[in-house]
Structures are given as C-alpha cells and as structure tokens.
Symmetry: C2
DNA sequence: ACCCGACGTTATCGATGCTAACACGGTATG
DNA sequence: CATACCGTGTTAGCATCGATAACGTCGGGT
C-alpha cells in the first residue's frame, strides 16, 4: 500500500481525468484515496496546495513526455516535435492542463520554469547550429505563449478552435520566424555574435 | 434606481475588478447589489449563468473598445492595433478576461463568436487589399489563439511572460505571416538585441 | 519501555450555492 | 374599481463544501 500522500495525489489525478479541478471535492478525494479528511491538510496545507502539487506532478509527466522525444541533428525539427507533443498532452489531459497553465489564486506551479528551461535548451541547440534569429528569451516566451494559447483555446472553445491546422499553422509560423533560414550570412553571423555577447554578459554562456 | 438585473450585473462586474470570479460569493453580490438572494436565481438560473452573462457583458465592452479604433487605409496596421487593444484590455481587466476566455464548465460565453466575426471582417479588408496570403479562417484562428495565449500567460505567470516585447514579437510574427509584407526581420532582431545589450550594460539586466 | 511521528476516526464549525414559502407593490386587464 | 399578475423583497432553511479540533491507533527508533 503506497503512502497516504501518494494515494491522495493519485486519487486527485484520477478524478482530474473526468471532472474539472473545481468540481472535485476534498471528500471525493478522501473516499477515492481511502484517507481521512485531515490527511489532506496535514500533507498539503489546504486544497490549493494539493492542487498545486498535482499540477507539478503533471508538469513532471509533461516534461518527461518531452524529454522522451529523441534529439535529432535538426534542432528546428525538434522544436516542432516538442510543440506537437505539448499540444497532444493538452488535448489528452484537458483538466490537468488547465490546472497547470491557468492556476487559480496566487499559487503558481513550479514546473513552468522547468518547461521554460527545457525550451531554452532546445533553442540553444538551434543557436549553436546558427539557426536562431531571435533572442533566445524572446523566442522562448513567444513559442510557449503561442503554444499555450492554441491549447487553451482548443479546450475552451473546441468549436472551431480545436482544428489541428490552427496548431500546425501557428507552430510553423512562430518557429519559422524564430529559426528561419538566413539569406545573408553576414547578418546571421552578426546576430550570432550579438547573441553570444549577450549570453556572456548575462552570465550564462553555453 | 436601475432594475434588479442591471444592479446584479453591475455589482458582479465591480467585485470582479478586485477578486477572482470564484472568490466572489453570491451573498457578496447580493449585498453589493442590494438584492435578495433568490433574485440572482430568478434572473440567471444559477451562479454560472450570472458569470456567463457578466462575461458576455465584458465581451461587449471588449468589442466596443475594438470598434472604437478607427479603420485606416492600412488594414494590416489595423490588425496590429486590434491586437494591442486586445492585450491592453486583458491586462487591465485580468479577472474579467479570464472569465471570458477560460470559462468553467460547459457554459461558453456567446461573445467569442462576435470577436471572431470582427476579426474576420478586418481580415476581409486585408483580403480586398490583396494583403492576405493565408485562408481567412486559418489566419483568424491563429491570430486570436496567439493573442489569447500571450495574455493568459502574462496573467498567470507575469514573471517573465508579461514582457511587452513578447506580445509585440508574436503580434508581428503572426500578423506578418498572415499578411505577408514584412519588413526585414533582421532589422527588428538587431534592434531588439541591441536594446537588451544596452539594458544589460546599463545595469538593469532584463 | 518510552516517546514520537505518521496515520486514522469522528464531530464540528462557518461559509457557500441554492431553494421554498410568503409578502409587498405596481400595472394592466376585466 | 376590483382582479389577476408580474417583478421584487424577506426570511428561513437545506445540503454541501473547505477546514479544524480532539482523540485514538500503530510502528519504529533512541
């Protein structure tokens, strides 16, 4: 028998597959986890703390599914693969996804920054391959924001925003803008140099 | 004295300026509107109905602020103006915006389709000007999804996603892709990089 | 043996969404 | 003028919810 904490997290995740986070009562969770009510509050402080913990657990699953994607020799293609895996995850786990990316109150899941770092690592590979023509920060924020936007719109208004072509179009547009192939090599070189200089000054080389 | 329905809607909108929709109790609303509890349910069925009505009212305000933007002879510039007014509205009315674009349960506000039509009208003007190189449906959905994504990320994770340059970059990218006719992208990139370098060197490192 | 921490049980509190039952005041219809 | 009606206000109450208190149990480690 797993520990009480694990059972609670497990039960909440299970219930989250059907209902929305707000439609789940602590008593339902306790019944599903075979735990007494106070156990939730001993472990997580309050319901919000539990939900945040579940959201972070969701991020681990989310990031694991991204890390499972092999790193090819085409970093731009890897970016697109990551985008698609993001969208797939959102549509497969709607309530969990909304819990992760539209948190209520002031308790933000910690996993969002890990997602950001993972994306930046992928962008770093593009940079090293000379295929990044936007600042990494800007590119990362833009890509993630657009991706989340597509997913949330598809979840909130499936008609007509769940159309896969919307995700694909936006994916190619945003990633294309960030990584588009360059025409004048000198401009690309200058951009690369500037970015490396910025990275050095910011303290994070690599 | 306005009618009871108006007072309720007004009170809810007022409270929505401070708290989140879920943090507002029906009793708070009744106290603010000087109405008895049953009045809410006579008028809106249940709390969700009231919130949906408030969301639709928000859409009217939202669309009015968009229609207030004059139609110039540059339809692409109009698109960008609309994007900025969208972002401004979201940041100015965070709780109302989240109520509008991430509705809970199965009650979707009706205003979303009006927003879609308004956007399509603007895209139609681009088409007539020969400045649309994407299907209108696709372009409209992509633009709105990206815009909503930027706003929701900025609201949920202001650090670091509330950076105005994210909205601007995504705006120019998506609208640029839909309407063609982009300025040399490397110019914008170089400018952006230079600004970040300047900021870093000046001591205020991003 | 002792205590202590993790876990379970029961009961309870205040707040919330929601509803029933009834009373009041205009308005229009006869 | 009387009637019925509709919108509105008042009170009381229900079931459920999140959260807590008080207490009991068990096992492990010093």
């Amino acid at each position: 028998m797993p520990t009480a904490r694990e059972r609670i997290l497990d039960a909440t995740t299970t219930l989250l597959a059907d209902k929305d986070a707000l439609a789940i009562s602590t008593r339902d969770i306790c019944a599903e986890a075979q735990v007494g009510m106070p156990e939730i509050y001993r472990q997580f402080g309050d319901k919000q703390g539990l939900l945040t913990a579940v959201a972070d657990l969701g991020f681990q699953k989310f990031l694991a599914s991204k890390r499972a994607n092999p790193t090819t020799d085409d970093p731009v293609a890897d970016l697109k693969t990551a985008w698609d895996s993001h969208t797939t995850f959102a549509l497969a786990n709607p309530h969990l996804y909304r819990l992760m990316f539209t948190p209520a109150g002031s308790s933000k899941p910690h996993g969002i920054s890990e997602a950001r770092e993972l994306l930046h690592a992928a962008l770093g590979r593009c940079l090293n391959a000379g295929r990044l023509r936007l600042p990494m920060e800007t590119a990362g924020h833009a890509i993630l924001s657009a991706n989340v936007g597509v997913c949330l719109m598809a979840l909130s208004f499936p008609d007509p925003y769940a159309d896969p072509s919307v995700s694909a179009t936006l994916r190619d547009t945003v990633i294309g803008k960030a990584t588009g192939e360059e025409e004048d090599p000198r401009l690309g070189t200058a951009t690369l140099l500037a970015q490396q200089l910025l990275g050095t000054l910011t303290g994070q080389g690599e």
